[in-house]
């Protein structure tokens, strides 16, 4: 009996623990999940210190968010009369509802942070050079989609925090010249945050944005293989004497046949020495499983320890004091609050300067940087290469400035947007009874 069980287990799951090199290679071809990976990956790619596996962590968070999100869809109602009550039900009346909601919330906050850190890592290692520029652009779109997903999800509980954060956020968006008010009108489904807004944000949050992210994620992964693996391999490649030889045309993939460049072959790692490679199954698969466990444990621990916030039900007549945007946008709110310029009778609204111009400029820089970077190919795949010191320092400086603004906005702003130090007690707001 035991033999039979073992044989059956072997038959189903051999691909995940291959018994030989041959089996390892075959696993990639035969198994649906594993066909994503190349048969072999370079040892260098497996390094913890190179990529910090941030991209994998982001993918794990995406999976956690999708699963918890779909489960939440069974319990949440996107109607202004029922939304708040359905969240209360999740907290108190649904078995494991509190845990489910908390895990979704903390995974979402973590996702924004990890995606940003992943982008920073790619920047610091100049892994956007050459053919990888397209993947970088895909990544920027993924980053924006992540922010939008977080923003649309923020409204759904329909409490004071949600309602006013979205009021502030969409007001900043409306400051864009020419198209601003129209964007706001489309987002809100009207002039006021109401049922139409909730429904639009809900559909964006559960369908369109996740679909966009998953499709782009698949493309993002495909590009990694097409570009020849992680940029960590580039220094190794450059060290060898490489003539532009004809790539082995054994595999040729393209996306709708639109791939640019002269060769449509995958730049496989077959150019590496035998000793510098490890089989993808089981080495890579096990590493990814480990990263997933770490990420999952972190979100679960946070979900057990800290509750996702929920304030009083949304009340359009009463603005909480102060009203803040979500943390990843509160740096914009800080800029908006402090960049209003007045000379004489003429006023340039802070909303335009801080809320629109600054992020648009930063975004434009992000998008254009792979094409503006003048450093040599020698700095690809290297952390903090000397040649790129100035750009790296600028990136760090801007990131720290944004982080500082976020810190001020989240922790140091109290009623009436006044500044309070962390330990200073905030004035108690008057109550009814």
């Amino acid at each position: 009996m035991n033999q039979r069980l073992q044989a059956w287990w072997r038959k189903g799951f051999w691909a995940w623990s291959p018994a030989s090199e041959r089996e390892s290679a075959e696993a990639i071809v035969h198994n649906l999940w594993l066909h994503w990976f190349p048969a072999k990956v370079s040892r260098r790619s497996m390094s913890w210190s190179y990529s910090l596996w941030l991209g994998t962590a982001a993918a794990c968070l995406l999976l956690i968010l999708t699963v918890t999100g779909v489960m939440l869809m069974f319990f949440y109602t996107p109607s202004v009369e029922r939304a708040y009550g359905s969240i209360k039900d999740l907290q108190y009346a649904v078995s494991f509802g509190r845990l489910l909601r908390n895990q979704h919330r903390w995974a979402a906050e973590g996702m924004v942070a990890i995606v940003f850190l992943h982008m920073a890592r790619v920047f610091f290692t100049a892994a956007y050079r050459g053919p990888r520029a397209l993947n970088w652009l895909t990544g920027v779109v993924l980053f924006l989609a992540t922010l939008l997903l977080s923003f649309t999800g923020y409204l759904l509980p329909w409490d004071q925090l949600a309602f006013w954060a979205i009021t502030v956020g969409t007001s900043i968006a409306s400051q864009a010249p020419l198209v601003g008010p129209t964007i706001r009108y489309l987002l809100l489904g009207g002039h006021l945050v109401g049922q139409q807004t909730l429904l639009r944000f809900y559909v964006l949050h559960v369908f369109f944005l996740p679909a966009l992210i998953w499709i782009l994620f698949a493309y993002h992964m495909w590009r990694v293989r097409k570009d020849g693996g992680l940029a960590a391999l580039e220094p190794g490649r450059a060290a060898r004497v490489m003539q532009p030889r004809a790539m082995p045309a054994s595999k040729s993939y393209s996306l709708f046949g639109l791939t640019p460049g002269t060769s449509v072959a995958v730049m496989s790692s077959m150019g590496l020495e035998e000793s510098e490679q490890v089989p993808a199954s089981p080495t890579l698969t096990r590493r990814i499983a480990l990263v997933f466990l770490v990420v999952f444990n972190l979100t679960l621990a946070l979900a057990l320890l800290v509750d996702a916030p929920l304030q009083t039900i949304a009340n359009p007549a009463v603005t909480p004091n102060p009203a803040k945007a979500p943390w990843y946008f509160v740096w914009l709110q800080e800029l908006v609050a402090s960049t209003t310029v007045r000379f004489g009778n003429f006023t340039i609204s802070g909303g335009l300067l801080g809320g629109v111009l600054v992020p648009v400029i930063l975004l434009a820089l992000l998008v254009a940087w792979p094409f503006l970077d003048r450093s040599s190919r020698a700095s690809e795949g290297v952390w903090f290469a000397r040649e790129r010191r100035r750009q790296n320092l600028t990136f760090v400086a801007i990131s720290l400035a944004i982080a500082a603004l976020i810190f001020v906005g989240v922790f140091l702003r109290g009623p009436y947007w006044r500044l309070y130090w962390l330990t200073t007690p905030r004035p108690a707001m008057p109550r009814v009874l």
Binding site: F74, A93, V94, S95, F96
Partner: protein, 151 residues
């Protein structure tokens, strides 16, 4: 490390992941069984027993008949067992206006498409002296509640 100990540790590791994973699936499944229902309760209170006249009284809100005979009470459902219309009491029998089912005063079927007799519901006295009906508890025809003799 000792091979056996290593194998044991590995088994523990895999085992705990599998166990925890299965527990998660179980928790997710449990979450789908609602703990609270937004429905009218299946068990509810009616009026005080002495407020009811002798004979058959129709309660339209709860779709049932309260039948009083001297100091004995029983409750018969007014929902036709055919397709769920509300039957009417005609003095000698129940008639269903939808498809013509007819029932005797005790709920058993005289004629028409109804497949089963009208169910009798459990009736009791609540702590505050009102009739309490439990529509989730079907009792055999013939059982009734006898009011306790007042001292």
């Amino acid at each position: 490390m000792d091979t056996n100990r290593r194998q044991l540790l590995r088994w523990f590791g895999k085992g705990s992941v599998v166990a925890a994973f299965l527990a998660q699936i179980g928790a997710a499944a449990r979450a789908f069984f609602p703990n609270v229902l937004y429905e009218p309760p299946s068990s509810f209170k009616l009026d005080a027993p002495l407020d009811y006249p002798q004979g058959y009284s129709f309660d339209s809100e709860h779709r049932l008949f309260v039948i009083r005979q001297a100091d004995r009470f029983h409750v018969i459902s007014a929902i036709c067992t055919h397709l769920g219309c509300t039957v009417q009491w005609r003095g000698t029998e129940f008639d269903c206006p939808c498809h013509g089912s007819r029932f005797r005063p005790d709920g058993s079927v005289i004629g028409g498409p109804a497949p089963r007799p009208l169910p009798w519901f459990d009736v009791s006295l609540s702590p505050d002296g009102l009739l309490e009906v439990d529509t989730a508890e079907v009792v055999p025809a013939g059982s009734s509640l006898k009011l306790p003799a007042k001292a």
